[in-house]
């Protein structure tokens, strides 16, 4: 009697928050500068809050993080600005003035809330997400998109790039990170 082979369980693509945090820690980040974003709330910011490593500086507006990161960089300390894409859009002038005109390092991790993670950001069904990479390209800002755990290695590369080259680099989270 022949039996039909049971379907192999398929692992759905995922981006694990704890794995992202490990990459952040091993990249030498001294502070995370953050505003809450529903995209990263459960999988990243809550676990980070619980661990306290690295410590969080909570912001009133995202562009403050650009000033704080620049101040820390003068002291030889690395920071990661964690925000939603709306905060990135709100911070364009600070990016231009501080990070680009002044040639100061900035590592950003940007949640693409509402994006379809199977598509590149510029093909997003959400207008606000769709314009993110064209704007970064127009400003000459390097960006890397994380779709799932296979992209985790991009985090350290991007952070090192920001601090080695003294320029802004954006890490875009296409998928909402899961807690573990």
């Amino acid at each position: 009697m022949s039996e039909k082979a049971a379907p192999q369980p398929q692992t759905a693509p995922a981006l694990r928050g704890e794995a992202i945090l490990r990459e952040i820690r091993t990249s030498g980040i001294a502070y995370v500068l953050a505003l809450p974003d529903l995209h990263t709330s459960k999988g990243l910011l809550h676990p980070l809050t619980r661990s306290g490593d690295p410590p969080i500086i909570r912001l009133a507006r995202e562009d403050e993080g650009i000033g704080i990161a620049s101040g820390l960089s003068f002291c030889g300390k690395r920071a990661l600005l964690l925000m939603q894409y709306t905060g990135l859009l709100d911070s364009v002038n600070a990016l231009r003035a501080v990070s680009l005109d002044y040639k100061l390092p900035l590592a950003m991790m940007v949640g693409l809330l509402g994006h379809d993670p199977e598509k590149p950001p510029h093909e997003s069904p959400r207008y606000g997400v769709k314009v993110v990479t064209p704007i970064l390209d127009a400003m000459g800002i390097e960006h890397h998109t994380l779709y799932d755990d296979r992209d985790l290695g991009k985090i350290r590369t991007a952070i090192d790039r920001a601090y080695d080259a003294a320029e802004p680099v954006a890490i875009l989270l296409a998928r909402s990170p899961v807690p573990a």
Binding site: A30, A60, D63, E64, I66, G67, F74, D101, Y102
Partner: protein
């Protein structure tokens, strides 16, 4: 009201080797009055001086950080007072140049000139202490102890706006100044 130049002179006498972050017209005049590698200038994106200062204060808790902010600049980023209060850097002194006008942009009035109580806002935001001065004698008598207080401290100076001056901000943007600042911080 305190004259702009007199306020700068009084502060200069007491800053010692502190890190000083200044904005726009105050930055130009401070740089001329106290040329020092531990000066940093926040021009190009209004409202970020306290943010730069907070980053430096967190990165160098052993150094006193003094921000010479403008009321036009701070008005663009009042929420920063809350961020600073939350981070609560003990080495942070935030001095506001309240002249009521956008001095760098033609001398136009602020939206609520002589209405907003900036010291009250800072205190309500959670600064450890906030002070207000409208005469130079009191400022000269108290500034030394204020600069040494545990932060975050806010000092609101009522400054005579005087005539609008044309200033050259370009030298403040020089890469050499930022390089010197970074090197000085590494030595300090």
């Amino acid at each position: 009201m305190i004259a702009h130049d007199e306020a700068l002179e009084i502060i200069k006498q007491h800053v010692g080797d502190a890190i000083v972050i200044a904005v726009y017209g105050t930055a130009v005049d401070w740089h001329a009055l106290r040329p020092h590698p531990l000066n940093y200038f926040s021009v190009g994106a209004m409202g970020l001086a306290a943010s730069h200062g907070l980053g430096i204060a967190l990165g160098r808790p052993d150094k006193r950080v003094i921000v010479l902010d403008g009321d036009g600049s701070l008005t663009m980023a009042l929420g920063t007072l809350i961020t600073v209060a939350g981070a609560a850097p003990k080495n942070f002194v935030h001095i506001l140049w309240e002249n009521g006008v956008y001095q760098a942009n033609g001398g136009h009035p602020l939206p609520a000139r002589e209405v907003t109580d900036y010291a009250g806002v800072a205190l309500a935001a959670g600064y450890r202490a906030a002070y207000r001065f409208d005469d130079k004698v009191n400022l000269a008598q108290q500034i030394r102890s204020l600069l040494a207080e545990e932060g975050p401290v806010f000092v609101d100076l009522k400054i005579d706006p005087g005539p609008v001056k044309k200033r050259d901000y370009k030298p403040l943007r020089a890469q050499a100044l930022r390089d010197a600042f970074k090197a000085a911080l590494a030595r300090a």
